[in-house]
């Protein structure tokens, strides 16, 4: 009995890369370090350009606690600003989405701005004349914005490395699956607040081993003869992608997906990729899904789900994509409730220190059920927040590495 309890409380006898101290999912100090060290320090996908269909279109959102608006200018350029009026801090817009005319007008004292961020009008400016203050001396706070494959990324860290450098090899995968000459379009959007740490959602979505959880995946994927022949490809900054593999939808009475394939996809194939830290792109042959995350608290996470087809889709084609999307995904899909049940239950076990260590020890030469991609994710996380994933209490000095994540990346 003693022995069994000690075994439960002590770190597992595995290399330190192969398990995680669960306090990284529950600790509020670590949570704020992540906000500064990851979400405020790197690139974040905020929307797809099809969500800003015309000059003047805007989307409002929050990144690492900062309210932002993404705006398509009259020059068609997409820019991002703090959604804050520089006068006294009223929000420039109060809704999620809309279209500006020529100007953005603050609702409080009616100052106006153009879509490039210049202040174009101050009400009753005469009052500022004695102190020599005028609209020329003020404007909206710009935010770094870059677009690749129609995906709009922003960073509130002005000195952040260029997006393409950050994404590295993943740029090729993005260009293959979201090519500029075949633009995509968002047709589905929903979100949920899930009661778990944001990393558990990324972890769940990136992990292929948990396909055992899903009836649908057991029947359509795990039973496929060459299921285990695919390989993970791990890249710097912990981005990763797994080879496509064909599913057998007929096994659950669903139609096959051989026509109207999304760019770069093979018939019936499933593709999963992660852009660190939180962008999960899944393609099931005829339809794409993109998840992104907003951490709210150590045990609360808002997940946004988008479904995408091709902008050029006919009505019939879009209906097929929508159906294929909904067969598995969407709020009424078969898999989502199962994933949420799993991660929320994990979070409960981890709270109050009842369950200290999680095991990430599978080594299968980068085959689907290898945990290398998750090990790489947690190491990258640790590097950015200055902690060790296996010992949440310890701060790491400078960029020491534990070495082998599993198998070297290519």
């Amino acid at each position: 009995m003693e022995d069994k309890i000690t075994r439960w409380e002590n770190p597992p006898s595995l290399p330190p890369t192969h398990y995680v101290d669960n306090r990284i999912f529950t600790d509020s100090e670590i949570f704020s370090e992540e906000r500064d060290g990851i979400f405020a320090a790197t690139w974040k996908l905020v929307c797809h350009e099809s969500e800003l269909p015309q000059p003047g279109s805007y989307r409002a959102l929050t990144l690492a606690g900062r309210p932002l608006i993404v705006v398509r200018g009259h020059d068609n350029e997409i820019r991002t600003f703090f959604n804050i009026c520089p006068h006294r801090g009223a929000p420039l817009v109060r809704d999620e989405r809309g279209t500006f005319g020529k100007r953005i007008q603050c609702f409080y004292h009616l100052w106006t701005y153009d879509l490039v961020g210049n202040c174009t009008g101050i009400t009753r400016p005469v009052g500022y004349e004695p102190v020599g203050f005028s609209k020329e001396g003020i404007g909206l706070r710009p935010v770094r914005t870059e677009i690749i494959g129609g995906l709009v990324f922003v960073s509130i860290q002005n000195e952040v490395e260029p997006l393409e450098d950050f994404l590295g090899t993943m740029v090729d995968h993005i260009r293959l699956h979201l090519p500029d000459d075949q633009p995509l379009e968002v047709f589905h959007y929903h979100r949920s607040e899930i009661r778990c740490n944001w990393k558990l959602w990324v972890d769940n979505n990136s992990e292929q081993y948990h396909e055992f959880l899903h009836v649908l995946n057991r029947k359509t994927g795990l039973a496929q003869p060459d299921y285990h022949e695919r390989r993970w490809h791990l890249y710097p900054n912990s981005h990763n992608v797994i080879d496509q593999g064909a599913m057998n939808y007929g096994n659950v009475g669903l139609e096959e997906r051989s026509e109207g394939l999304m760019p770069g996809m093979q018939p019936d194939a499933l593709l999963v990729m992660l852009l660190f830290p939180d962008i999960m792109i899944n393609v099931r042959a005829t339809v794409m899904r993109i998840d992104t995350i907003t951490p709210v608290a150590p045990d609360r996470t808002i997940v946004e789900w988008r479904g995408l087809g091709l902008k050029s889709d006919s009505r019939e084609q879009r209906e097929i994509r929508t159906r294929h999307h909904n067969q598995v995904w969407g709020p009424a899909g078969r898999n989502l409730p199962e994933d949420i049940s799993a991660v929320e239950a994990q979070q409960i076990s981890m709270s109050n220190d009842a369950f200290r260590y999680s095991i990430y020890a599978r080594e299968e030469e980068l085959r689907p059920h290898d945990d290398s991609n998750l090990r790489s994710f947690y190491q990258e996380w640790g590097r950015r927040v200055g902690r060790w994933p296996h010992d949440a209490g310890a701060r790491r000095s400078e960029k020491t590495e534990l070495g082998v994540v599993g198998i070297a990346s290519e």
Partner: protein, 161 residues
């Protein structure tokens, strides 16, 4: 036995009200076989919502009765929400066609979710827009379109609302 047309209409309306409330009750009880029997053979079930974020109407489910039967038959194989659900439905409008052989019905609904610890919360609200057809003595659903206003679900599920 009905004595005149007015009485038939009243009886039809009463039958239709019962049909709508039974549909909700069967779902609450997990009695999916009875739920799907309320649909005509070529019946259809739709779940639609509006996204303010992307400014579009979305279809979340669009199934024939047969597809719905398969989905619900398999539902016990899925890891599912252990909470109980309760529908409160109010029929707002029943429009019978001239021949009294079909009807358009609009109802409002709220679904409450009671978790395993006994906490109850509103799970979803919305409207049913039902197209019904007379089927002998009974009425059955040709198409149910569930227009759901709630978009942030505490626990998503493929079980019809």
């Amino acid at each position: 036995m009905p004595v005149n047309k007015e009485q038939t209409k009243l009886e039809d309306r009463e039958t239709i009200r019962t049909l709508i409330s039974s549909s909700a009750k069967f779902l609450d009880e997990g009695n999916y076989a009875h739920f799907t029997e309320l649909f005509l053979e070529n019946g259809r079930y739709l779940l639609v919502a509006r996204s303010d974020e992307i400014g579009r109407d979305m279809t979340w489910l669009d199934m024939s009765r047969d597809e719905l039967v398969v989905l619900l038959k398999e539902s016990h194989q899925h890891v599912h929400d252990l909470a109980e659900r309760m529908h409160i439905v109010s029929v707002d409008q029943i429009l019978l066609d001239g021949l009294d052989n079909s009807a358009q019905v609009q109802s409002s609904f709220a679904v409450f979710r009671t978790d395993t610890a006994g906490n109850t919360q509103v799970y979803a609200v919305g409207r049913y827009r039902d197209s019904l057809e007379r089927d002998g003595k009974d009425w059955r659903i040709k198409e149910r379109c569930v227009n759901v206003q709630t978009r942030m679900f505490r626990t998503p599920t493929p079980t019809p609302l």
